[in-house]
């Protein structure tokens, strides 16, 4: 019987499982997909593992290394297995799942949630117009092209400059499609700078900042869109509309943590991250339930994600005792969110946070008076810093600020 059950066999789940098995725990990983590695098999571009390993791997290669390591360590990995129900807390954990062998029930000492995230759709952006075919989220188009060998379209407009959208602009161009432009409502690109360079600038694909799509046209198939400039309040400006002919619209509107299981279990959620609230050990408000990866908060790089997930795996391996609430860690000046949301005791704490507005010429991160100088602070790049938390700092709420 497993000591620890990990839900999700993407990079977070695998990294957590490996870390827990290195602590001597018996680990079972469950994943509803037929394959392992989560989203990585469709991310065929390189750039994975640079921070962690110093080499630039593609998504399938990065996932392959984790799958191999988990198997070598004897982690029990089950694909095509969907968790139906969780019970946890008060020392009674129960995981009910259905897989190729039928219904199974596991009673682990700890549960690690690594359920990933989903893409925002057209309805999250409330784009007016007709409902023709040819509108895809960027990740769905990526799966169609890279996994299933399905053509998506010839003349493409991309809404949103998130990383998946930028990567797909290059991918569609290399596959012979004409990418007419990337439309971004913010005055800056939301994806990583390196993707703006190597996915757009390399191929002379226009990036329309402070623009949005105001209409979608076409009956059975998409025939075009209307885009317009937006003002400071992100409202379209009249008479700036421009029609663009296209048969395909890719939506890269950002990712939302997926936490249906966590919510059903009743863990406390953070409305700012969309994920569970955790302490510095990645433990949620329910004893023995941990969270990591993109269901906790959406990461930009898999390297940081697996590092955080390994911490969840190590923590889940130690004997679970009820920890005091401690001090809350709350976002302050120019900070959109902070993880962990609370700190239960003194010691080294790794804090992840994101800037609200770009501070390109440097910033100071201040947490309850503890200061760190940063080269820059931009919303597209998550900030991850280790701080030393003292008993004094735990007296009241700790505020994280980004100061110029």
């Amino acid at each position: 019987m497993a000591d620890i059950v990990v839900i999700g066999a993407g990079p977070a789940g695998l990294a957590a499982a490996i870390a827990a098995s290195e602590k001597g725990r018996k680990v079972t990983v469950l994943d509803r997909n037929q394959w392992l590695g989560g989203i990585l098999p469709q991310c065929i571009h390189d750039g994975f593992g640079v921070l962690e390993k110093g080499v630039s791997l593609t998504g399938p290669e990065y996932a392959g290394q984790y799958i191999k390591k988990a198997r070598e360590r004897g982690v029990d990995i089950r694909s095509s297995t969907m968790v139906l129900e969780l019970e946890a807390g008060k020392g009674k954990n129960r995981v009910r799942a259905i897989g190729p062998g039928g219904i199974m029930e596991l009673r682990p000492r700890a549960i690690i949630l690594a359920t990933g995230c989903r893409e925002r759709t057209r309805w999250a952006a409330m784009i007016p117009g007709t409902r023709p075919s040819g509108i895809y989220t960027a990740g769905v188009a990526q799966a169609m092209i890279n996994l299933y060998n399905r053509a998506v379209g010839r003349k493409v407009v991309i809404l949103g400059s998130g990383n998946v959208g930028l990567i797909m602009a290059r991918r569609m161009t290399l596959e012979g499609a004409e990418v007419k432009g990337v439309v971004e409502i913010m005055p800056y690109a939301t994806g990583l700078p390196r993707n703006v360079v190597q996915c757009l600038e390399d191929y002379n694909i226009p990036l329309h900042l402070s623009h949005t799509i105001t209409n979608i046209k076409g009956r059975s198939r998409l025939t075009g869109i209307t885009m317009a400039k937006v003002d400071k309040d992100m409202k379209p400006i009249q008479r700036t509309e421009m029609d663009v002919e296209c048969d395909t619209l890719l939506l890269s509107l950002g990712l939302v943590p997926e936490n249906e299981l966590a919510k059903a279990l009743g863990v406390e959620m953070d409305p700012l991250t969309g994920g569970p609230r955790v302490d510095q050990d990645m433990e949620t408000s329910i004893d023995g339930v941990y969270a990591c990866g993109n269901c906790l908060h959406v990461h930009d790089t898999v390297d940081m994600l697996t590092e955080e997930a390994a911490l969840a795996g190590r923590s889940a391996s130690s004997i679970t005792i009820h920890r005091p609430e401690g001090a809350r860690l709350i976002p302050g000046r120019n900070v959109s969110y902070v993880v962990p949301q609370w700190v239960h005791g003194p010691g080294k704490v790794i804090v992840s946070l994101r800037a609200k507005r770009p501070m390109e010429s440097g910033a100071v991160l201040s947490i309850a008076g503890e200061r760190k100088r940063l080269a820059c602070a931009v919303p597209s790049t998550m900030i991850r810093e280790e701080i030393e938390v003292t008993n004094d700092m735990l007296e009241g709420d700790m505020e994280a600020d980004l100061i110029a």
Partner: protein, 126 residues
């Protein structure tokens, strides 16, 4: 404009997700001064980006008889930016038989770049 600024170039490093803005001073086609990079690889990248820009090309190749219809691939080393579309043409026309293992060389010396196309994924036989 002062003499020194004429050959100033700014290059956004794409080696890792940090994306440093590296400033390079060139004189007679040679690098004089580099600043803004946080690591040695940023320096190497910026010099190359000024003199001969290169990219890793990632794509996929058709597989027959495999568990998946495609195997993901990449160039074994970065190739000259000018050759990107020549590399893609060869990749698009290639076809391989399952099984394929990560690291297998699927096209040798692609588009006469002296770089190979290698598999980045295992595709077992169906």
């Amino acid at each position: 404009m002062p003499e020194g600024l004429k050959n100033m170039r700014e290059v956004r490093c794409i080696i890792c997700p940090i994306g440093c803005m590296v400033r390079i001073e060139l004189e007679n086609g040679e690098v004089r001064k580099i600043s803004g990079n946080q690591c040695i690889r940023g320096r190497e990248y910026a010099v190359e980006e000024c003199l001969d820009p290169k990219r890793i090309v990632c794509s996929s190749i058709l597989v027959s008889g495999g568990e998946w219809p495609l195997v993901s691939v990449r160039t074994s080393k970065p190739v000259s930016k000018e050759k990107l579309f020549l590399v893609m043409e060869e990749v698009r026309n290639a076809k391989v038989k399952a099984p394929v293992t990560t690291g297998d060389v699927l096209i040798r010396n692609v588009a006469t770049t002296s770089v190979d196309i290698i598999a980045t994924k295992d595709v077992p036989s169906r």
